[in-house]
Each structure stands twice: as structure tokens, then as C-alpha cells.
Amino acid sequence: MISAIYELPLNTGANRVVRGARIEHVIGDPNLGPEKDYEYGMRIVRAALRALETEVSAPTLFNPLEMSLEDLPAREEVRRAS
């Protein structure tokens, strides 16, 4: 589950919850400009992939902004021309 308002899924039993950017743009942020928008979105997706590879026993938050990039799967730099 990727959501900007992560408390709700955590409290209602979603076991792997990834913090998204904003309600109106969950995977990325258009205000950052195309390149950084894509980087942010990719960071969120990689955190989600990390969550899939992590054993959990109860609702657990994965916050892309607090996770070290080195920890995340898909380590190779992915940059895309906008």
C-alpha cells in the first residue's frame, strides 16, 4: 500500500505501508520539476519494492525519505530524460 496519508492504512491493518508524496500525486511531485519529480517517484517505488522484500509481523511503515538509497533494491542509478 502506497499512500500519502499513511496513518489510516496502518491503523486499519495494512501490513506494508509506504509513504507516498501527496494525495493528488502519490508517486512523485510535479512541483520539483521533471527530473527531480521522477527521482522522487522512483525513490518511492524502490521503497515499496524494499517493503515487498521485508518480512513484517504487523502493520509497518516504510518511509522513502528515511530509507537509505543503498538499502533499496534496484540500486543502479536510474535516470530518465524527461
Binding site: 500500500m1 502506497i2 499512500s3 500519502a4 496519508i5 496513518e7 489510516l8 492504512p9 491503523n11 486499519t12 491493518g13 501490513n15 506494508r16 507516498g20 501527496r22 494525495i23 493528488e24 500525486h25 502519490v26 508517486i27 512523485g28 510535479p30 521522477y38 517517484g41 522512483m42 518511492i44 517505488v45 515499496a48 519494492l49 515487498l52 522484500e53 521485508t54 518480512e55 513484517v56 509481523s57 504487523a58 533494491p73 534496484a74 543502479e76 536510474v78 530518465r80
Partner: protein, 349 residues
Amino acid sequence: MAAPIRVVHYINQFFAGMGGEEAAGMGVSVSEGAVGPGRALQQALGSSASVVKTIVCGDNFFNERTAEALAAIEQHLNAAKAQVLVAGPAFGSGRYGLACALVCRKAKELGLPALTAMHEQNPGALTYRTEAIIVPTGETAAGMAEALARIAPLALKLARGEKLGPASVEGYLPQGRRVSIDRQMPGYQRALAMLLDKLHGRPFTTEVPIQMPDRVAPAKAVASVARAKLGLVTTGGLVRKGNPERAVSRMATRFHRHSVAELESLSGRDWEAFHGGYFNHIVNANPNYILPLSFLRDLEQRGMVGSIFEWIYALPGVGTSVAASRVLGRDIARDLQDGGVHAALLVST
């Protein structure tokens, strides 16, 4: 004659007449007297109470900057010198319901009695029903008059410092609190009476209801996403442009399945969002914001994820009941498992 009870009313940007989703980012503001449905609340309260202040906050602002919003609201609550706070009614609006419940909780912390009202399945009720007094309502504002008629007497009781009776009697959602009372009959007689009712097929009310928590055991982790087939699902109301399938924008009763076998990305030329719970324009320009196909294709091409399942699943989550969600979720999961999917990403707005 005693001075009228002072009531503070909390509402969102929509009920304050300040706009819909595009205004959901506005911060906390305050007005003297009643605003919008506050006027009907005033009527329901009658002459013994007066709505002296209305606090307004955008639903997105409240949910995304909660601490900031509550700090501002705390100041207004302290300044109001009121005897009770009424928040909402929020009906089926999830973000509004969450805000109302938290504002009530804050008021309680400050020693101000408070209550709110929303649909029983509103996320605010599901999460905070034990921490706030919540009057159940219908799903839409069509039930405003009825909701206010039930809120008003409770608000007056709370303002006067009167103790509330059981939820079933006073008309608020049960909070899971057990209070000892004298039932005027020994237990063995009550047990026999209940057994006889059961045996004769007559209705009976258990004295000890058991609430089963709805918890799903976490799925086992994927060993390596580089070898996994991944499915993509969204409750952000993704539809093909023009909505040819006539998907609804709220209260989903079905999901929609689309093939992305040939697609590298979701384009705003071919897709859009049709969802009544958030401002759709940003996603209309780039639908990958709610279903990250572009990112996953990128990773798939580089061998960082195994493969992307050709079918994506979409529905509008807003106003969709827990009961419906359970069925839809189970059916989507079955579809994914039949397709050999190992794990799924679900994006929610």
C-alpha cells in the same frame, strides 16, 4: 434566565462555502457565529445555546499538516470560551471524518466536551470511535437535518456536564467501554431467559458482544523482486480517457481491469482520473502518479524487477464501504494469483 450555552462548530472548506477539492489545501480560519450548516445546527439547538464561533480547515491541509492545524485550532478553541464543540457532520467523507475526530480529541484534551457525527464506516469512525463521541449518520449530506437533530440534544447534555448513558440509548457509536450497572435480576435468571429466547427463535441481545478485529496476516516477503512478477492496483479512480466503461467516481461496487501489455507508461492522452475524493487534474496530466507503470517498466527493462503483470486494476476508493472493499480486494487478489503474480503494489489517494 441563564446565558445561552456557547458552542464552537468545526467544518471543512466545502461546507464553509469556500470551494471543493481545489480548496482542500487551505489552512485554519475562524468566523464569528454560525456558517453554512452551522445555521441549521443553531436552529436544532434552539434558544438555550448559541453557535458563537466556526473554525474552518481544508481537509488536505488538516491531514497532511495535522500538528500545525491542531496547534492553530487549539488557539481558537481556547479563545472561544465555549462549553461544547460540534465537529462536522462529515457523513462519508474520509478526510473530513478523520479531521473531525482529531479535533474532538484535541478539544477533550483541553477540557472542552466535544462530539462529531459521521457514517459508521467513515475512516474517522473506524480509527477513533473509542476516542471521540461519534453520532452515526448516513453517507451523504442529504441526511443533514436528521444528523443535526441527533447531535443537538447530545451537545446540550455534554455542555451541561451531564453524564452520558450507554451508546445504544444516547445514540452514539459504541466505544467498547464496559460500565457496570445493576440489571435488577440475578445472572442465572437472565441466562435462562436468554436461552429460552434462543430456543424459541425469539430475538435476544447478548450482554457481552465480542468484537473480532479485522486483521490480515502479513504475506511472506518476496525473496527477490528481480525474480518476481508484480501486479499494479490503484484506488485512485484511474480510467481510460473519456471513461468509456462508465466507471463511477465514488462508492465502487466493481473494479476495472485494463491491459498494459503494450504500454511503457500511462499517458494523459489515453488515461485520466475519475475520482470524487481528490483534485484529479494533476493525475490527468500524468497518470503514473497513481499507478507507477513508467517506473516499473524502467526497472523491468533493466532486469531490476522480474516482470509486470499485463493487467492493471483500478477503482475509485472514495465512499467505498469496508464490506465492498473486502469483496473487491479478495477478487482482485484472486485474479492476480491466477495470473502468477507474486506481489502487488496498491496506490491509494
